[in-house]
């Protein structure tokens, strides 16, 4: 099973690549809506990308109120 740190790192790398944001500008505790500059449709896009990458199912109600990469990683880690 992969570590939480690796999960977090993969999320940051994936988000940076998909939304064309420099990886080094993203930090784990940052608000990803602001950091990535994404709207509601792009948030769904990110959710789908994460599910496909980690091969997990993430009910969106579990992510309600989640705004930072670290908490997002913990939610995904719980389903790996």
């Amino acid at each position: 099973m992969q570590t939480a740190e690796k999960t977090l790192d993969e999320i940051l790398t994936l988000a940076a690549a998909h939304f064309k944001v420099p990886r080094e500008k993203l930090s784990p505790d940052e608000d990803f809506f602001k950091a990535l500059g994404i709207d509601s449709l792009q948030t769904l896009d990110l959710l789908t990308k994460l599910e496909n990458h980690f091969h997990v199912e993430l009910p969106d109600y579990e992510l309600q109120g989640v705004t930072d990469f670290r908490t997002l990683a913990a939610k995904i880690q719980a389903r790996l």
Partner: protein, 276 residues
Amino acid sequence: MVVAAEGVPVGQFKGQTLSWQVNSGTIELALYRTPCNELGSLSLGELEQFAAALEELEKNAHALIVHSELKSGFCAGADLRELYQRSQAMEKSESLRQVRDFLERIHAVLNRIDASTLPTIAAVHGVTFGGGLELALACDLIIADKTARFAFPELRLGLIPGFGGIPRLKRDVGNAVIRDLLLTGRSFNSTKAQQIGLVSQVVSEGEVLRAARATAAQLGKFDRHTAAAAKQFIKPIPHDELRREIDLFCELFSRPAVQAGLKKFVESRAAQPYLP
């Protein structure tokens, strides 16, 4: 352009929200109303034109593909902003009458697509929510790319899907799946959609129209009368339940909670406004 007796353009059409043309024997209905093909009165009017033209189009085609030209997705469902603004601008009884009229009209369009003598394919990507999923469900096959995301989020507004979603979903998947989608309002991806039997093929991002065209070409190899008979046999239209759905939707729509839900959604600046 070929024009039918009633003045409806047949061979091809380019409107404000959608277009259609026949490409290699396949009718391609393309949606392109920004931001995500929300279905309001303008879209409905053009869909009605398409439904009126379909009988003529069917004579010279072997399949129908419905797809979106927008990156954001296939269709985000009903135009809730229009619905809210209209409901605010008139008496409750008139608002309810107009909602029922809209539902009757969209049901007529989707029933016509559902009953087409041609095999029909919804080629979906990105957001396929609410009325968008209901449009896809009217088709015989759903082909999705990996960005596709499906949901029936209507309960967040105190409503049920109103464009035939539940009866058509019941035709295709198990009741437990429907309860999950309906009662949680959660969205799910194309892999899950294929697992539950909703989607027939999942393809790479950006490949859905190509895959749909390849499938349509395959469908064109078979005798169309046999295909039409097979379709009619295996895919009956649940008219009684569709009627009951309209009644239930209208009953729920008249409740104050729905207006509050619509207001909250329309005024929301949240990044996830589709969540309750």
